[in-house]
Amino acid sequence: MKINRVEMFGFKSFVNKTSVSFSEGIAAIVGPNGCGKSNIVDAIRWVLGEQSPRQLRGNVMEDVIFAGSESRAPLGVAEVTITLANGNGTAPPPFENMSEIAVTRRLYRSGESEYLINKAPCRLKDIVYLFMDTGVGTRAYSIIDQGQIGGFIEAKPGERRILVEEVA
């Protein structure tokens, strides 16, 4: 289930609707310090169901909603949609025959959150079920955050088990 597209709206510094399409091979995201590169990684972690604000470098989950800038007022909602290719039919029923699956997550300043699969409202549980056994999700070795590369192998032997268990 490769990533075909990520669309962000009101997520962190991506206040305008922004769409990034990815193809096969190696993609490099570049730009000056503070321009929003790591925010794209946060958007992907978030839409896949991440529940810990700390993991997204915030204190509370509302920190992912655009907080305003010199020229723009804060927004009231953050929304990210990730479109995954399902060419090899790895998704569980009833999604196995779809060539693409779009997952959307929304968060309002009120604290209310919404999840959608192919624009149809669902629960977080449905998203977790969708990704079960497909390898998508925040597996220990598929996302390496900025600054983490040095400390990874210093992890305690117990933490390294997770890596092996994902494979076992």
Partner: protein
């Protein structure tokens, strides 16, 4: 189950014997159960030997060596059980020029099968990518995606 843990470690070590010498130009590394009789409970040690150096405790490795050893382990795990995509955020920052070259060639190898999305400030690593995405903040505080340049 017990067998699956032993098998997973064996499979990762097999790939590690490829990725580690490729990234370090020699040497070896291996995962081992802290207690082989208790595969479901024991922790897992990583033993690393750099080319020409003694077997050392992971803490004594330099910043660049730790990053490279981590990449060797990640790529090995990736070869055993590929995940649909791989996101790497400035993992090349501690590497010197020679190790960046080796990282690049490994990246290209893995990139043939897997989808890799990486963030970097290093010109040399950008050259290894098939597609470049530029992010900018022309309007302060607001991120914008620039057009994509194909390499």
């Amino acid at each position: 189950s017990k067998e699956r843990v032993h098998e997973a470690i064996k499979a990762i070590n097999e790939k590690l014997s490829l990725t580690f010498p490729t990234l370090f130009g020699g040497g070896q590394a291996e995962l081992e159960l802290t207690d082989p009789d208790d595969p479901l409970g024991a922790g897992i040690e990583l033993y690393v030997q750099l080319p020409g150096k003694k077997l050392t405790n992971l803490n004594l490795l330099s910043g660049g060596e730790k990053a490279l050893a981590t990449l060797a382990l990640l790529f090995a795990v990736y070869m055993v059980k590929p995940s649909p995509f791989c996101l790497l955020d400035e993992v090349d920052a501690p590497l010197d020029e020679a190790n960046t070259e080796r990282f690049n060639s490994m990246l290209k190898e893995i990139g043939r099968e897997a989808q890799i999305i990486l963030i970097t400030h290093n010109q040399k690593v950008m050259e290894a990518a098939d597609v470049l995405y530029g992010v900018t903040m022309e309007e302060k505080g607001i991120s914008k995606l620039l057009s994509v340049r194909l390499n």
